[in-house]
């Protein structure tokens, strides 16, 4: 059985989402192992270049997780992230990469279950979508 296992690169902000992901782990929540997490100080630190580079390097999906709007440790980092991801969605579609492959989610430090749910759901969705079109070329 050769089931496709998507590779997801996750960027979690230090102050909320990384702690949320950590909570999912320490609480032993059931979560598929498809995501590799990179900790960044703020979701606003995620340069669109990182995301494009992840796709170029073979990621099937990229997850950005940050503090809820209003809660960013740096006050407005995540507002910029919203607009960057939204513009990047439009641009990736033009380049043949489905926008569903790039997700932006808000996860607070107490939302371990939410984090695990996002990862499970994203993985499922990517399985339906199949391997990244970047890899096919």
């Amino acid at each position: 059985m050769n089931q496709f296992e998507p590779k997801i690169l996750g960027f979690c902000c230090n102050w909320c989402s990384y702690a949320g992901a950590d909570l999912a782990g320490t609480s032993r929540m059931q979560q598929v192992p498809n995501v590799r997490i990179i900790r960044v100080m703020c979701s606003g630190r995620v340069d669109p270049t990182f995301i494009i580079k992840a796709f170029e390097a073979g990621a099937d999906g990229v997850l950005i997780a940050g503090c809820h709007p209003g809660d960013c440790h740096y006050i407005g980092g995540n507002y910029k992230t919203i607009r960057r991801i939204s513009l990047l969605h439009n641009m990736l579609e033009q380049l043949g990469i489905e926008k569903e492959r790039l997700r932006l989610e808000w996860v607070s430090a107490s939302e371990g279950a939410k984090f695990a749910g996002i990862v499970n759901n994203f993985t499922e969705r990517l399985k339906e979508l199949g391997a990244s079109p970047v890899k096919a070329q």
Binding site: T49, I52, K80, N90, M91
Partner: protein, 325 residues
């Protein structure tokens, strides 16, 4: 002492780079005095066999413009590399792909379909497409292979230096020629232009406030653009924050925003991603905390062609290189 041999060659390009050599004006006479031109298809009648007859490395420097679309172009630049001491990628197309690089939103099949069948002015009832080999009256005719993807020069051969611009301005060309003649060159791989971003040298930089917020994106034809105010302040997308300077700000002085032909500044892997990041940060910055999802989407959608805007000149050199299809 024999004069150093110099070659000029063109690939997928428009001829504007040849023009810039002419734009050296009187300086071109100094160049012609100092060097021996062994190849320049636009002006002189040398052929491939003349280059083949030279010893390896005999050409001091080849200035090669245009991106690589055809097999014939690839073969020719490989021959030139073998015969040249130095290779300079001349102009935006050779450097980062240029306007022909926008062909990377399509592939051979879709381009042929459009160009030879779909265009209203084309009459081709049999739907004939260019073939690499055809026999006509017992004669074998060949055409160069047309690749799916446009490549930059350094994706095809080893390049020593880059002269950016569409086309490179005469002062940078002259500086490069002098540096080569005097053997006073920077490290291999350098772009022979300033390292700073265009905003640093822009005549409008003083009108650019610390904080810009774009509440409505305007395309150049939609408004009467003020000739002195930073384009971003006017809501017009300008790639100055993400583009290398050295162009002489000619577009800005002609009241048009920067389109990015000089490519990224040193150390930036993807010019389009950098530009997107800069523009997205200032879109609706004022009052961002109260912006609804719909409002954000509406504002972002006002940039109707983000890939074409941010990769206008640099799609082949970008991390993804082309549309995936």
């Amino acid at each position: 002492m024999a004069k150093p041999k110099v070659a000029f060659y063109w690939n997928a390009s428009c001829g504007g780079c040849e023009e810039t050599v002419i734009d050296l004006n009187e300086d071109i006479l100094k160049v012609a005095d100092a060097v021996d031109i062994v190849l320049w298809p636009v002006a002189l009648d040398f052929k491939r066999k003349d280059i083949e007859a030279l010893a390896d490395g005999e050409i001091a420097v080849s200035f090669i413009n245009g991106s690589i679309r055809l097999e014939e172009q690839e073969n020719m630049v490989k021959l030139l590399t073998q015969k040249s001491g130095l290779v300079v990628a001349f102009g935006a197309c050779a450097h980062i792909g240029g306007i022909p690089g926008l062909g990377n939103f399509w592939n051979r099949e879709t381009i042929f379909e459009r160009a030879y069948k779909g265009v209203p002015s084309v009459e081709n009832p049999e739907g004939t497409l260019p073939q690499e080999r055809t026999t006509v009256d017992g004669c074998d005719l060949t055409l160069s292979e047309f690749y799916d993807t446009v490549k930059t020069l350094n994706q095809t051969i080893d390049v020593d230096y880059y002269l950016p611009g569409c086309p490179p301005p005469p002062d940078l060309v002259m500086n490069a020629v002098n540096a080569i003649l005097q053997g006073d060159l920077p490290e291999k791989g350098a772009v022979l232009a300033p390292a700073k971003a265009l905003c640093d040298t822009c005549p409008r930089r003083d009108s650019k406030p610390e904080k810009i917020s774009i509440s409505e994106v305007k395309r150049p034809w939609e408004i009467k653009m003020d000739p002195e105010t930073c384009f971003l302040v006017q809501g017009v997308i300008c790639l100055g924050p993400a583009t290398r300077s050295g162009c002489g700000e000619t577009c800005i002085r002609a009241n048009m925003p920067c389109r990015g032909c000089f490519g990224p500044v040193d150390g930036v892997a993807d010019q389009g991603a950098r530009a997107l990041s800069a523009i997205a940060s200032i879109l609706g910055l004022e009052g961002e905390e109260n912006m609804s999802e719909e409002e954000t989407q509406k504002l972002v959608d006002q940039i109707v062609d983000p890939a074409g805007t941010f990769y206008r000149f640099g799609l082949p050199a970008s991390l993804l290189r082309r549309k995936k299809m």
